[in-house]
Subunit: 457 residues, 2 copies
């Protein structure tokens, strides 16, 4: 009986979704609009054109079109590494002695090592289609930069990646992978931009931050011909592209007559979580089902659980439009002891709105507890998870253990966003017992909140 | 028409082979037997029992049983990461403008990053089944050590890995992965064994070699209770387990009405090549088909193309049985400029015999040509290949280019054994233009040949 569901469910290439799903179309209350920081007024497509290519700007602002066709060349690329498997964690279930059924959607079986490729391919394609020759971006842990390098190599676009300096130094191999795919990788803050120079002038020894790298990438795009900026998370367009994760998951679960009671995803900027939950949240919004949806974030970067729901800049240099989101303040930086990604100061405006309106829950987990879960999972399921993904594993295990107590045979679905091959320094410190849990104090957070833009009143 | 074959063909878990295929059963002339070095006589099962667990010793010596059932627990583990996809390199074909159809069997989508897991799971299972509590092994590039760490964590066995010292130092992350799965990793040569101490006494600064690490692992197994030694390549048992690669490939090709004209695999000890070609070689041996079979080895470690077909030790310390194989001499070490694996001095006795008898071809390729192919492939197919696998890519590209000249629409199948995430130092030196091609001179080889065991007469 136990073994009647296979370990992995793959859709065929024909069964793969041909459209992305735009969650906003089904939200009765829409996320608050982006604001043009110069005027304080809602941004229109034309405000975004200098930064984003046109089709992406349109996707960014469109909160009524329910489905977008996935362009044929994007589908062709997807077929190199998709559909990704929906897997059943039989060994974990057994080890936990839980009546819960634990499924996970595994997005790590591609060279970028994560789900990030889903949006990178789309964004590179639209840039190419518009006749651009170059794009810029930033990367922290390096998964997004790798994904975009792959996509740009495939579509023949030049790419400059501003890589957060501490990550650039700690993860030379990540840099090498991007270079192998032909990208230029610049440690951020750098002397190549005004934003970078300003930050360096203030703090020459800084290890950089995502917010700062974003400023540099946007500035470079604005000053380079035939060039635009692309971003791997937070944005509505990214959640749209990532909806393929959830669409495939739901379809695969239907094939085995399952529907999740709880859906769990790690949340940094929200790209994975937003994609994973999309069709399930649709069911919830339309009253067709009522699964619990749980965002898991690091205790060291707790935007949903301890942030403010307010308008904020998406970057440190304050060159981007203002977005209403849960934020720790655009100047917030997690402790250097924080490993891996999930270090962005804000959260996807879509997810922020849904959370604010009570459609989902959020928990924060401590780093060492996350790595406890990661190592347990690795040994049982023979997949070395990324630190980011392991936040979801932690909470999935916790939920399964609750089921053990209550005797409920719940169906749990979590997102295993990627693999941890480039995060061995963090694993090493965990194994050696030197890993720390550094959690921001209320005072630190308050100080950042005081710097939130005036537009919040 | 072009797009009628999907990019990837996955068998279902039900379609997965339930038996391994033992190529020796169909060889009219069998590989020469292993010799007990003490007596000079063919080794019998009992000679191997101190080193290998009993079922594996039986598999090692069995050249008549055609199929072995894959034990249920091994199948269960396989289902975590298998079946692996058979993929069509559409973009590579297009870029080469070749009429050839290029397929590859991709074994890299698992945490070990290579096909090595296929035999690791089997060997760990049989050790556990026999009531052993511990195994030892060696690892060079680290793929085998990682694979075995995963398998031992899964089956609950202790593991000590002797890791070639230069690799231990150059690839700390590989070590960390093994440790994450609970393995003890010892740089080799070490002071923990007689063999290691002897080598260190002679050359304290040595970076180690696979042959030396094998000696240490075997010695440790012999002197530890409830412990045996396991090896990731060369052995007949390993080729047996790896036959799943070829069996799946053949089955997937049948599903799309294809049969390869040329089958190409990289060859170090022969585990991947032997597995990939198994059922196709069967066709050849039984006169059912006549595909070309091409072994690709590094010019810096050219056992088939420049070695002697002779009895030799499998290790430097000369503690193992003698095997008749193509060998560069057990003291041979490739130049430190040689990156990645494929650095073993010998070659699987089965493959050696088949090559000797004219059933397959062999070519050697230069390192920089291999990386040319690796980077071209990465950009087109969005998979970062291992240096080892890239040897096969090189030759597949060369064959496809020949097809372009001749206008023949041949069907090419090559083995993409793994991913290169832990090999970025080598990619970096390639990208920087500092990678060298160091090829042994005839004199160097002759010097090693003179030291071949006396039993060769």
């Amino acid at each position: 009986m136990l073994k009647q569901v296979p370990h992995k469910i793959y859709l065929t290439e024909e069964q793969m979704p041909k459209q992305w799903y735009n969650l906003r179309a089904d939200m009765k209350e829409k996320p608050e609009p982006m604001l043009n920081p110069a005027t304080g007024k809602p941004a229109v497509k034309e405000d975004l054109y200098p930064v984003f290519c046109e089709k992406l700007a349109a996707q960014e602002l469109d909160d009524t079109t329910r489905y977008f066709d996935i362009p044929e060349p994007v589908l062709d690329f997807y077929k190199i590494y998709r559909p990704s498997p929906l897997m059943r964690a039989y060994n974990l279930e057994k080890a936990l002695d839980t009546p819960a059924k634990i499924y996970f959607k595994f997005e790590g079986n591609n060279t970028s090592g994560s789900h990030k490729l889903n949006s990178a391919v789309a964004q590179a394609y639209y840039a190419k289609e518009q006749g651009l020759t170059k794009v810029t971006t930033e990367t922290g842990a390096g998964q997004w930069g790798t994904a975009l390098s792959e996509a740009c190599a495939y579509f023949g676009l030049d790419l400059t990646v501003f890589m957060v300096k501490c990550s650039y130094q700690q993860k030379p191999y990540r840099k090498n992978v991007m270079q192998t795919f032909g990208a230029s990788v610049v440690p951020s803050p750098s002397n190549t931009t005004k934003a970078g120079r300003a930050i360096l002038a203030e703090n020459p020894e800084t290890g950089g931050s995502l917010g700062c790298a974003i400023s540099e990438a946007v500035e470079t795009a604005l000053h380079t011909e035939n060039c635009r900026y692309v971003l791997g998370s937070v944005l509505n367009q990214v959640l749209l592209h990532q909806s393929i994760i959830g669409l495939e998951s739901k379809q695969a679960m239907e094939m085995i007559d399952e529907y999740p009671d709880v859906i769990i995803g790690c949340a940094g900027g929200g790209s994975n979580l937003g994609g994973l939950i999309a069709p399930f949240m649709q069911d919830k919004l339309l009253g067709r089902a009522n699964p619990r949806i749980v965002a898991v974030e690091p205790a060291s970067c707790p935007s949903l659980t301890r942030g403010r729901y307010a308008y904020d800049f998406c970057d440190v240099g304050k060159v981007t439009p203002l977005a209403k989101m849960y934020t720790l303040g655009s100047g917030f930086m997690p402790s250097p002891d924080h490993a891996g990604g999930l270090r962005y100061h804000g959260m996807s405006p879509i997810l922020s709105k849904l959370y604010h309106d009570g459609y989902m829950e959020a928990v924060s987990v401590r780093q060492t507890d996350v790595f406890d879960a990661a190592v347990q999972f690795a040994k049982l399921e023979s997949i070395l998870p990324a630190p980011e993904s392991s936040h979801a594993i932690r909470t999935a295990i916790d939920e399964a253990l609750k089921c053990k107590e209550s005797g409920e045979a719940k169906t749990i679905l979590f997102g295993l966003t990627g693999t941890g091959y480039f995060d061995m320094t963090a694993y090493d410190s965990y194994l050696k017992g030197t890993m720390k849990n550094v959690i921001p104090t209320d005072e630190q957070l308050e100080e950042n909140f005081r710097k939130l833009p005036k537009v919040n009143g």
